[in-house]
Symmetry: C2
Subunit: 205 residues, 2 copies
Amino acid sequence: MEPIKTILALADAYKKLPGIGPKTAERLAYATLRMSPEDRELFIQAIQDSMDKVKRCPHCGFYFEESCPLCADPSRDHHQIMVVCDSKDIIAIEKAKGYGGIYFVLDGTLSPLRNKTPESIGILRLLKEAEENGASEIILALPTDLDGETTALYIADLFAKKGIKVTRLAYGIPVGTNLEYLDNLTIAQSIRHRTDMDKGGQDNG
Amino acid sequence: MEPIKTILALADAYKKLPGIGPKTAERLAYATLRMSPEDRELFIQAIQDSMDKVKRCPHCGFYFEESCPLCADPSRDHHQIMVVCDSKDIIAIEKAKGYGGIYFVLDGTLSPLRNKTPESIGILRLLKEAEENGASEIILALPTDLDGETTALYIADLFAKKGIKVTRLAYGIPVGTNLEYLDNLTIAQSIRHRTDMDKGGQDNG
């Protein structure tokens, strides 16, 4: 005996989300059947709104409902562009309140295996945005895995040819972390990029 | 800057599913925005169908679209009722093809802390179903945690008073498992319930 069609369809829908395997998808499908009709109506409405109301900024790629809160803000410095891989990262950086420039969201990182090219992840659009904004600095806030590094090096190379400065967020010890729990690479990077006490954070690397 | 309303509403919907915390819910909400419109339409349709098409059998609690494939099947033995905590368990047991009776799905296990009483999880309905079907045996297939044990003992006690036999699925060594990876309780149970080689599975406990 197989689960009924609707349950299979629900599980299929959940399976399309990242990190949800077949077993979890089935569990979530049955859990959906146990949700109250009101909660299911809200769920449907939220997915519908995600199609009807949410727009993506044609410039930076951030999601908004009215107008892009970043690109449309004249108080932000349009000559600094921070490059991230995920809109969620913008929320995190904005919460830290240490940045006043604009952003650019790449659709993932370069990966020949996953068919992610400079064009498909948006690096060519980034170049165009940088030129149109007369950007003076590109700040990379990309993942620190292999594909993230490849992407960072590719962008650095591309913009160096155009004479635009490219920087990256500092590697180092997270504030409040105990050294003994840190990986070797992070410790090595924190030594290489050690800062003078009196310069308040100048790079020595 | 906060995520936009639709993303918060989507995350709220995901958070109502079991095992989905705030961080995962947020991740799934952003992932939903990246789904194709076709996939989102299918997702909405599946949730809508879960309300419009899926019914719960008033007798056993199993989900169906046309008629209950278990209770409506005259070839099944209606005098044997297997009690489970989750409709998914019925699918697993049916796949094993070793059982020909009917089922009863409890809404969870007894737990005073989570406000789960014999009435709220359906034990009183189980009693009614057993009496109406003239049941000769109740087979418990409940979780082996503390609440599952409590529920099993409660049901055994209740049906003993009515003179109806209550059994439970055998505890023991899963087929194909290496002894060294098994927990002590399972090994102890498999010794206690050891079977005679010539009886092909008779209990010795």
